[in-house]
């Protein structure tokens, strides 16, 4: 019974980390897509958007690392 519970806890942890990992990839795609969009139309505010997308990507990595530590 204890092995079943520990196995379930491990499975939940793995799925949680998998989901957060997928979101990190999504955040990275947003960074890349913003770069491609900026090449299509050049404007003066693209550095601001670049910073926002990078902050979001770094935050996603931070949450992923936090999950590895806390869970």
């Amino acid at each position: 019974m204890d092995q079943l519970v520990s196995g379930a806890v491990l499975a939940v942890k793995l799925f949680t980390l998998l989901g957060l990992g997928v979101y990190v990839v999504f955040a990275g795609i947003i960074v890349r897509q913003e770069q491609l969009m900026a090449q299509t139309v050049a404007e003066t505010f693209h550095p601001v958007l670049r910073i926002l997308t990078v902050i979001h990507f770094l935050a996603a990595i931070g949450v992923f690392i936090t999950a590895i530590i806390l869970l």
């Binding site: 979101y23 491609l36 936090t66």
Partner: protein, 209 residues
């Protein structure tokens, strides 16, 4: 014989545009600019050296209200709804504190991601009118880019629609450009001042005619 009539074939210049929120005329672009006449500092990837951007358009800011409201709701849900749910539902096991913290962090992260993706979708969906062509740049779901253009000389008909209370209050509508090009129709949806857009395109057509 005295001159009775002298037709001036001077190059027609677009009428001066009155300033309104989100609009700029021959000035620098703002982050939330939705209507700009001859903007500075704007270039797109297939623009030629002799090509000049006459109109730079985005969808009216009001189209962002739905995702802004959703973002605001998502931002307050963890502080108001989650404690209520956790307190009212009796589970046979205790949820570890680490999972609650990660769930809250991920919720706020997803809220930020949703807002960022929604803003980028609006920001990079652009309509451009140059002295040579009309361009429609669409980014769908952040992954697909659709670039449509039609030369001014191939434009057959221009029209616009503007209906409903929000359109009247905020002065936005849809501009339809019918062409003889490979792309038969270009649609500028929810653009500010659709009457001015149509007028500007007509003035450009008169110039090249």
């Amino acid at each position: 014989m005295p001159t009775v009539f002298n037709a001036h074939h001077a190059k027609k210049r677009p009428s001066p545009q009155t300033q309104s929120p989100g609009s700029s005329h021959g000035s620098r672009m703002g982050l939330l600019t939705t209507y700009a006449h001859r903007p500075h500092g704007v270039r797109f990837e297939t623009q030629t050296d002799r090509e000049e951007v006459v109109l730079f358009l985005r969808q009216h800011i009001v189209v962002n209200v739905p995702w802004i409201v959703i973002t605001a709701i998502m931002a307050i849900v963890p502080t108001l709804v989650f404690p209520f749910i956790l307190g009212s539902v009796e589970l046979p096991f205790l949820i570890p504190t680490g999972y609650i913290i990660i769930a809250a962090l991920f919720w706020y992260l997803a809220t930020l991601g949703f807002a960022l993706a929604s803003f980028l979708t609006w920001y990079f969906n652009i309509y451009i009118v140059t002295n040579q062509r009309v361009v429609d740049i669409d980014f769908q779901y952040l992954l697909y880019k659709h670039f449509s253009e039609a030369e001014l000389m191939k434009i057959q008909d221009i029209s616009y629609t503007s209906g409903g209370l929000p359109s009247i209050v905020f002065d936005y509508g849809n501009v339809f450009v019918q062409t003889a090009a490979e792309v038969p129709n270009l649609e500028f949806l929810y653009v500010p001042h659709p009457d001015r857009v149509v007028k500007t395109i007509r003035e450009l057509l008169d110039t090249i005619a």
